[in-house]
């Protein structure tokens, strides 16, 4: 705020709002030629005024635009708001650049600013137009259950000659929501942050699931059950947050391990409930005889939905989860094998890793579908037990495990040799050293990369459609051809599936960043001035 050679007169003191405004402008358009004078503030207000006037003008003109009757008023409002806002934003930046002549002092920033604003405006306008005006999302609303659960479950729900099987998945959902709340309760996330994001997520899910338009299921029942799940999650969060506040860290760690085990149990339970194997059916038959709670188990005595009839998002999640969980185990074994000095461990591991890595995943999916059954059929008493989905889970674990093995191997090599020597001095056997010293160290340093491999596996489940497994993407992209009421809506399901996959992957990447921060692995470097 000292006197500046440009004007020779010291400017009046500025309020916080003005300081913030000037900072933002410098960030977007570069340094002003009038910096440090009163004229600066005047110009800023002028630019703001121009921008607001433009916004109002544009908003009114867009809102009264000629559109087909299909477009609802909310869509029209959102579209006009969005387009006008970004257009006036562009005008504001242009005005600022011209009035303050920032291109004289910092030409590159000014140019970048204008260019980006133009690009942003066009992209936003295009997207809003596509999303709100031209796309007809009815096909998505009409097929919510089909894309989620597949053809057989939808048939069971809508037709009378098959009993509905949707009850199988609600216990899994309750448990998953509960574990979700518990995991966040034990972590270091602030309560405010968690509540905000959880609220937003719940509202989105409720809005999606409870829209009565085109619903071919009982919306009220779904509402009740979803509210149950939400309250379980909140309850779990509150309980475990309270527990972690009053307990020591080692006790919290024990509970964390328990939660992890419960998550694995959740995954296994999902598979077993959907298609109870014979021994589970017999156990349920015994448990049915217990007087009070026995009736809970009676549905489990029937055979369920065989894996060949699973479909939808459920299949994607199950295959990805199997790939991640089993892949981690396979990866750890292969990593240790590869870096061992015993040839009997090293050479087989190296050959497995190199052979599996040489081909793209599609290759291996095809192999698992048609060639693997030839090899392993004698191991099954009933060869038909080796279902499509099981084959996919096996090959995803192998493929994921190989890449995770490479990552962990890097981590193992980075373990300080002093640690290993100390362990040896303490008398730990080699296996104990590996289990208690090397592996935790390696996983700690490589956990973000491992999570990014998980994200890759999740995205790769979209390839299941090539071998005719009815996963979410295949159902979504074939809907325009099989849904007689919505033929020809080719693009909407594709955009919808892109968004769904993106949301899951984005959430996982946020988790990975959170993990990185928690483990203290983010470093600061230089180079911004480049």
């Amino acid at each position: 705020m000292s006197s500046d050679s440009f004007s020779g007169r010291s400017p009046r003191p500025r309020s916080d709002f003005e300081i913030a405004l000037l900072d933002v402008e410098v960030g977007f358009t570069g340094r002003s030629s009038e910096e440090g004078t009163d004229k600066d503030i005047v110009f800023s207000y002028l630019a703001l005024a121009v921008g607001s006037i433009w916004f109002l003008l544009m908003f009114s003109s867009h809102y009264s635009m000629e559109l087909s009757e299909r477009v609802s008023s909310i869509d029209r409002l959102l579209y006009s708001l969005g387009t006008s806002f970004f257009q006036s934003f562009l005008i504001w930046i242009l005005t600022l650049t011209i009035i303050k002549r920032t291109f004289l002092r910092t030409p590159s920033i000014a140019l970048l600013g204008v260019g980006s604003a133009v690009a942003v405006y066009y992209i936003v306008e295009l997207s809003l137009e596509i999303a709100l005006l031209t796309m007809r999302w009815d096909i998505i609303w009409a097929n919510r259950v089909l894309t989620l659960l597949g053809a057989r479950m939808t048939e069971a729900m809508t037709q009378d000659y098959l009993p509905s099987q949707n009850w199988r998945l609600w216990p899994v959902i309750y448990l998953t929501w509960g574990l979700f709340g518990a995991a966040y309760g034990l972590s270091k996330t602030k309560t405010k942050t968690f509540s905000m994001y959880f609220l937003i997520g719940t509202l989105v899910i409720l809005a999606y699931a409870l829209n009565p338009e085109y619903a071919n299921y009982n919306v009220n029942g779904a509402r009740t059950k979803l509210l149950y799940a939400t309250s379980i999650a909140i309850l779990a969060f509150a309980t475990f947050r309270y527990y972690s506040n009053i307990s020591d860290e080692y006790m919290v760690n024990r509970v964390k391990r328990l939660i992890l085990l419960l998550a694995v149990f959740d995954f296994i339970m999902a598979i077993l409930i959907m298609d109870p194997p014979i021994f589970l059916q017999s156990i349920a038959a015994y448990l049915e005889l217990i007087p009070v709670i026995g009736s809970l188990f009676s549905p489990l005595t029937e055979p369920g939905v065989p894996p060949s009839e699973w479909g939808g998002l459920f299949v994607n999640i199950i295959v990805a989860a199997a790939g991640c969980v089993l892949g981690l185990g396979v990866g750890i074994l292969l990593a240790f094998g590869r870096q061992s000095k015993l040839p009997i461990l090293k050479w087989p591991s190296v050959s497995i890793i190199e052979i599996v890595r040489s081909g793209p995943l599609i290759c291996w999916l095809y192999f698992a579908m048609y060639l693997l059954p030839d090899i392993v059929d004698p191991l099954f008493s009933n060869p038909e037990d080796f279902d499509n989905i099981i084959r996919m889970m096996v090959i995803f674990s192998l493929f994921g495990g190989v890449y995770i093995a490479e990552v962990i191997r890097g981590g193992l090599q980075a373990v300080d040799s002093g640690q290993k020597e100390a362990a040896m001095a303490l008398g730990l056997t080699p296996i104990q050293t590996k289990r208690l010293v090397e592996l935790p160290n390696a996983i700690r340093t490589t956990l973000p990369t491992i999570v990014s491999q998980f994200i890759g596996l999740w995205k790769d489940t979209t390839l299941l459609f090539i071998i005719n497994i009815l996963d979410f993407f295949k159902i979504a992209k074939d809907m325009p051809n099989t849904d007689l009421s919505f033929l020809g809506y080719f693009l909407e399901p594709l955009y919808f599936s892109a968004v769904v996959f993106w949301v899951f992957a984005f959430y996982l990447s946020r988790v990975s960043i959170g993990v990185e921060k928690g483990l203290g692995l983010i470093k600061d470097g230089g180079g911004e001035k480049a």
Binding site: G27, P430, G525, E528
Partner: protein
């Protein structure tokens, strides 16, 4: 208590694994070695003879045995026979067994399986004891001779006189062998956990344990492969037969390839395969070039001080990194099909570039002009390298001069090309039927919509990862370097060229290497946009011919070769960049 449960479960798992793998193995060995000749015709389609079966099984087990012995280091001193005596012993015993099988008569149902499965079990027992080196150098004690020799002798006797043993043993071979493997594993585990002996002993025991556990699995897989190659069921045999003669037949479907021609009804499958590889390669190369340029641009933009630009770059990276490539390709292909104008609208840029959802037609010149342009560029580049061999002049004046010469060359070359260029010409044989309108082939260069979608999808997807790599390497530079460059009054261009880029490239190149290999492997998704790449062609061939394994091997070899090429090239470049130690 929990450790007891874990022990119990592991023993049960081991037992079921052994019995599950050994039972079909015995059945398969019987199938493969039983001859059933009626009137001089061999009626057993899987018959390959006892010798073959024993040979393949022993070869697999021998390889495993040699790996477990870990005596490879000792072969360096060939004089010291004791160093690798056990390996020689292993090889010798395999040969002896082969001899035995050809001379003596081992029944296919009992004798041969007993021998084939019993030998590895005995070998693992001997490995575990570790007496063999000493026995072979005749330095062992009596106890060692006894405990190694007696079971060996017992086994040999049993296998020779198997028919005189009680039925119990012969009918329950699986249980017998599984039990012995389980017991041996338990003892090995006990010995390893006893923490006694020097690390070499522990290593040996651990190798022996791994050998023991892998024996049933390896035997199962080897014998299974043998059975699959000689399967009574013709369809399975077709699938597994390692024979590439069908590739010399005419291909049965049409593909769209350039520049190598593959005509339906005239060319063999090999030609279609080569043409498809060229297709894959050109899509990959173009994507690599484009995604590097776009990735560097976005990575640098992410680091700019303009908040708007950097947030836009962040949004781009976040969006495209988390989208699955399959969905993105499908989306781009469909959206392009809907958005690009119909061909009948004859949308064009001033008559030079025709674009529609059937393809994009660019002007084309004679090939020699293109070649001339390339030669011009290369000669200018060589000239500059020669002039700068003692040191490149980085002053502003020299940089301007050089840019001027490059610009002039480019303009000259383009003018040369434009002179001989032909614009796309649309002919309309049936004016009322827009479907018959087309662009005359010699006047334009066609870019198919499939190629466009493929390259766009790969570029957009990979550019986001490359941007992250670039940003990461530039950000990981020590702050002091850039500040020192600024304080030395270097211009931004000089800063980039002399300080930032050399250091950033070091960390970038290995990461870019893996990204380029990913581009090559991701090009296999071309089946989604119906672009005829190598995977698509082999996929359709697999369904037409049913010879899965030969085609699968071709596929793996192709992708591995491509990865090795890319990797080799990048490693060479890396060596050049890291030649100067920083």
């Amino acid at each position: 208590m929990s450790s007891t449960i874990i022990y119990g479960i592991s023993i049960w798992l081991l037992w079921s694994y052994c019995s599950k793998t050994l039972t079909p193995t015995i059945g398969s060995i019987t199938d493969l070695s039983r001859s059933f000749v009626v009137n001089g015709v061999e009626l057993n389609p899987s018959y390959i003879g006892e010798n073959q079966v024993a040979w393949w099984a022993s070869a697999a087990i021998l390889m495993l045995f040699l790996l477990a012995l870990n005596e490879f280091g000792n072969i360096i001193n060939p004089r010291n026979l004791n160093g690798y005596a056990t390996s020689l012993f292993g090889v010798l015993s395999v040969l002896v067994v082969q001899l035995m099988i050809s001379i003596l008569d081992f029944t296919p149902t009992e004798g041969l399986p007993f021998l084939i499965i019993g030998m590895p079990v005995l070998a693992s027992y001997l490995l575990l004891l570790g007496d063999l080196p000493e026995i072979l150098s005749i330095r062992a004690s009596r106890g060692q001779y006894l405990r190694s020799g007696i079971p060996t002798g017992f086994f040999i006797l049993l296998s020779l006189f198997l028919t005189s043993t009680p039925m119990v043993i012969r009918q329950n071979m699986v249980q017998l062998f599984s039990a012995s493997i389980v017991i041996l594993t338990i003892f090995a585990w006990v010995m390893i956990k006893s923490e006694s002996g020097d690390p070499r002993e522990q290593d040996r025991r651990f190798s022996a344990l791994v050998f023991m556990i892998s024996v049933p699995g390896v035997l199962f897989v080897t014998i299974r492969f043998l059975l699959l190659l000689n399967n009574p069921d013709t369809v399975t045999r077709e699938r597994w037969n390692l024979d590439w003669s069908f590739m010399n037949d005419l291909n049965s479907f049409i593909i769209n390839v350039w520049p190598v021609d593959a005509v339906f009804g005239e060319d063999t499958r090999w030609r279609f395969y080569i043409a498809a590889i060229v297709n894959s390669a050109r899509a990959t190369l173009l994507s690599i070039v484009l995604c590097t340029i776009l990735g560097i641009f976005i990575g640098v933009m992410r680091l700019s001080s303009n908040k708007l630009a950097s947030s836009m770059a962040t949004v781009y990276v976040e969006v495209f990194r988390n989208l699955p490539l399959a969905v993105l390709l499908f989306l781009i292909a469909t959206q392009l099909g809907e958005t690009l104008p119909l061909f009948r609208e004859e949308a064009n840029l001033n008559g030079w570039l025709y674009y529609s959802n059937k393809g994009i037609w660019t002007p084309t010149t004679e090939t020699w002009r293109l070649g001339l342009f390339l030669i011009l560029l290369i000669s200018v580049w060589i000239a500059f390298r020669i002039m700068g061999r003692d040191g490149v002049d980085d002053s502003n004046r020299a940089v301007l001069q050089r840019s001027g010469i490059w610009g002039a060359t480019t303009v000259l070359g383009i003018a040369l090309m434009i002179e001989g260029a032909t614009t796309p010409e649309v002919v309309k044989p049936i004016p009322e039927s827009p479907a018959s309108w087309s662009v005359v082939e010699s006047t334009a260069f066609e870019i198919t919509p499939m190629f466009t979608a493929m390259v766009m999808g790969l570029t957009l997807f990979t550019a986001s990862v490359v941007a992250e790599v670039v940003r990461g390497s530039i950000q990981s530079l020590p702050r002091g370097q850039v500040e020192a460059a600024v304080s030395l009054a270097l211009t931004p261009y000089q800063r980039l060229r002399l300080v930032i880029l050399p250091q950033a490239l070091r960390s970038m190149i290995p990461l870019l290497n893996s990204q380029y290999m990913n581009v090559w492997k991701n090009s296999s998704l071309a089946i989604i946009v119906a672009y005829s790449d190598v995977f698509y062609v082999i996929f359709v061939m697999m369904n037409n011919v049913g010879k899965l394994i030969p085609l699968f091997i071709l596929l793996l070899v192709t992708y591995q070769a491509g990865s090795l090429l890319i990797s080799g090239f990048m490693n060479a470049y890396n060596a050049r960049v890291t030649r100067v130690r920083i």
